[in-house]
Amino acid sequence: MAGVSSGSAQYIYACTRMRVRKSLLIPREDYLRMLNMSLPEITRFIGETIYRSEIDELGTSFSGINLVEVALSWNLAKEYQSILELVPGDLKHFTASYLRRWDIQNVVTVLRGKMQKMQPGKIKEVLVPAGRLDRVALDRLVAEESPERVAESLKGERFYPVIERELPRAMETGSFAHLENELYKGYYARLIADAKGGVKGGDIFLKYIQLEIDIRNIQNLFRLRAGQVREDVRELMIGGGSFTVDELQRLSGLESPDEFIDALKRQVKMIPLLNALEEIRGKTALHEIEVALTRVQLDQMERMSKRYAFSILPILVYLEKKKYEVANLRALARGKEAGLPGERLQGYLVM
């Protein structure tokens, strides 16, 4: 009894903190205001929000777009690491599994950088040490000489077998795309295994994973259609969602867009997703479709997090929303740097 009670109090504590943090994220109106600002104005604006300490700290070493980029990455990493510290017991286990995606992103970035013989300092700028591999571990990787050496020093990591298997092929072809796909597929498979591992609350975590996999697969199908890819897509799809890989292959074979959306709608049960698919029918721009699907995912997660108020979900909702906030700010800053008009940029923001 005592164990159960104190456990639930910890869940309430952590989930409330996440809800407060979520309420402090940049609201839609601020994004709309930022669309009319120039890059220095945006930098000043975000320097007055929770990104202040990073902007102040990095202000002397970076300027312009680089300052925004690095400050956003640092803030994201700091935020994720602090969450990992404050969440209790089982929630920590799931949060850590979720955050491993950043390890994959970082490792692939280091491998690509090493392959292209980039300066270690340059590689370091684009890393986001938000996962299990912290700044020190990543520094060690960046200091290695070649991609093979980087891979060797990752011995013992969960994803090492995939890297060991796929790296020679990637080096031969010069493309890390296949390696990256395999790593992410391994990541999702591992997430599912973690959720099914018998830890309390795993069933709720599994619901989130399935939602994420479904949305990711649907996004990928739309991307493949936009890229006119008609070959075997089974390799590119993630298993474990509510669609089997063969079903996804059949869907990707459909010629007309209407037929494709109808077939998708027959398989989907989630009402918000059905509505979004209906809206997508009229859209042709890929980024609009992706943003619409991401929106559905976030809304659905939000809804699930209210149903399971004290579980892993409120934490994941915050982590995801934070990720998109950083992505939005980065898109805004990059767009302004490139001189894109506000209306065009708006289509790329997940608000």
Binding site: S5, S8, A9, I12, C15, T16, R17, V20
Partner: protein, 85 residues
């Protein structure tokens, strides 16, 4: 023939037993409501600490919410006092 000595003794015993029972009732009233308050405050307190940790301005409001279940134990205390006096 009536044994008055025994009857008087029984009456005293009953009276004493009534006082004892009301004392037990008073104890239960305070004790159980205390447990109820504690259980109710557990969740609110955890959330209040969480909210205050993120935003210090929440402290006053969070404290107010945390002590609302104290009313339960006050009801228990009132019942106990009524029973005893």
């Amino acid at each position: 023939m009536v044994d008055f000595g025994t009857a008087e003794l029984t009456l005293e015993m009953i009276q004493a037993s009534q006082v004892g029972m009301s004392a037990v009732g008073a104890g239960l009233a305070v004790g159980l409501t205390g447990v109820g308050t504690g259980l109710a405050e557990m969740g609110i307190g955890a959330a209040a600490v969480g909210a205050t940790a993120e935003n210090r301005d929440m402290f006053g409001l969070a404290l107010l919410f945390t002590v609302i279940p104290e009313t339960i134990v006050i009801f228990g205390l009132v019942v106990a006092l009524l029973l005893l006096f």
